[in-house]
């Protein structure tokens, strides 16, 4: 018993999944959300949230890039010359984004066509670069992986919520399936309840300004619901 204790002491903190590790994932999803708390990555959140499908593809892409960029940067963090660390981080992100782009082009061509510009713009997404600089450069790959995963999910979750609201009220659709609207093509309308039929799709919700409103309201709701955030700022 005594011997093993010594071995454990010699080692750096062992890889485990405790409270601290869980916080690495849950923090960016709630208390430190990149979009609603840090207000980062707004540009892409405005652009790709016109539909759930695009938002979902984008969310998966960002989770992937954020996770692996964090892990790779963290793994080579002691070898990266500090003078050029930003450029190295950018190369890592750009490589991963290109990998995502090539893969999408092969497996989901229509999404690739619709998202093409914005997939490329993940490179300039400040969330990812921010995590590399603020976290991965100073932590082990394991913790960095959790942090990247958490931040990617935190971003993707907000993206999906905004897209849900915009697609449902803008086009009356979810993932392209017609749900609510004035004609019989829409699923809820076939139920023949007057209170399901009155809604007529609001074109403004599809446009960029509505994403601003929706995100602003989300930030408001998030702050009202989570008292911790009021104290932070």
């Amino acid at each position: 018993m005594a011997e093993t204790k010594v071995v454990e002491k010699k080692k750096a903190t062992p890889i485990s999944f405790g409270k601290k590790e869980r916080a690495l994932i849950t923090d960016p999803i709630n208390d430190n959300n990149p979009i609603t708390v840090q207000v980062l990555g707004i540009c892409s959140a405005l652009a790709v949230t016109t539909g759930m499908k695009n938002a979902a593809v984008m969310a998966v892409a960002v989770v992937f890039v954020c996770l692996f960029a964090n892990v790779i940067t963290s793994a080579i963090r002691n070898r990266i010359p500090s003078q050029i660390r930003m450029i190295v981080q950018l190369v890592i992100i750009a490589t991963l984004v290109t990998v995502v782009e090539l893969t999408l082009k092969a497996v989901a061509f229509e999404s690739y066509k619709q998202l093409s510009v914005f997939i490329g713009l993940i490179i300039t997404n400040c969330i990812i670069m921010g995590r590399l600089e603020a976290f991965a450069m100073g932590n082990r790959p394991y913790e960095s992986a959790l942090d990247g995963l958490g931040n990617g999910i935190g971003y993707g979750l907000i993206l999906l919520i905004v897209a849900f609201i915009r697609e449902l009220f803008g086009k009356g659709e979810l993932f392209g399936y017609k749900i609510i609207g004035a004609t019989d093509e829409y699923a809820l309308n076939t139920l023949n309840h007057w209170w399901l039929e009155w809604y007529s799709n609001n074109g403004l919700m599809v446009l960029f300004p509505s994403a601003m409103f929706v995100i602003a309201v989300l930030i408001w709701v998030h702050r009202a619901w989570n008292p911790k955030l009021v104290d932070i700022s």
Partner: protein
């Protein structure tokens, strides 16, 4: 601090690894990318006649069905501005490998002087012998190029369906020319000749005033809609010599 030497070594190793990875991946996936792009283009062409396909529901069409239709039901040809059909060799000589209509890049043709352009042309034959002629046209939207396929019935006058696409129009506004199926449907049944005189179809801001030659505009997308009017008016006229040769 790292020395300049170690920085250079690091950069060289990093770029080599990254370049190898990406080049390898790009090369490995190239055939799939090419196939996807080809299917996408074919599907876009077919969507102009989506209501007239034989026993196929366009909403759930599979890749194999698309290839099948192109193989069995569609005749491709390329014509010049005088309506004369070009041979495969002539098209290949213009830099389009394959020499078929599907190999012609209509956006590239748009940049040539008008008289030198070549036009892709698809003829879909239904099992009952009815033919649909699918022609292509390009124009300018608000931000960038727009293009479309227009299917005509065999009277070379009635539109059987259209499909538009764009490079960078605004989602919810200009992009509606592609996404809003109800708007696209308006074109079906419209005519392009008025008593033998060429007229084309016009997208009218504020609502169509004529049942035969006009469709409603899209609110908030006046410039894109005008672009559609312009490209139809100009683009369909390019095919006029060919229409005449069919009608005899």
């Amino acid at each position: 601090m790292h020395s300049t030497r170690s920085i250079i070594i690091f950069v060289v190793i990093m770029t080599t690894l990254v370049a190898l990875l990406l080049a390898g991946m790009s090369t490995a996936l190239a055939p799939i990318h090419k196939k996807n792009e080809m299917l996408y283009a074919k599907k876009a062409t077919l969507s102009a006649i989506s209501d007239h396909l034989d026993g196929v529901d366009f909403a759930t069409i599979s890749d194999d069905q698309v290839i099948d239709i192109f193989k069995n039901n569609i005749k491709q040809s390329v014509i010049d501005m005088n309506g004369k059909a070009l041979s495969k060799e002539e098209v290949e000589a213009l830099g389009y490998k394959g020499g078929e209509a599907e190999n012609v890049d209509i956006l590239k043709e748009m940049k040539k002087p008008e008289a030198d352009r070549i036009l892709p042309m698809y003829v879909y034959e239904k099992s009952d012998g009815k033919k649909y002629y699918i022609v292509s046209t390009t124009g300018k939207g608000l931000w960038d190029v727009i293009w479309g396929c227009i299917a005509l019935e065999d009277d070379m006058n009635t539109i059987a369906g259209v499909a538009f696409d764009h490079k960078a129009e605004t989602p919810g506004l200009g992009a509606e020319i592609k996404d809003n199926k109800a708007w696209v449907k308006q074109f079906t049944g419209k005519k392009i000749y008025d008593n033998g005189a060429y007229r084309s179809v016009f997208v009218r801001k504020g609502g169509a005033k004529d049942d035969t030659y006009e469709v409603d505009g899209i609110s908030g997308a006046t410039i894109t809609a005008d672009g559609v009017s312009e490209m139809l008016g100009r683009g369909l006229k390019y095919y006029e010599p060919f229409f005449k040769s069919i009608k005899g």
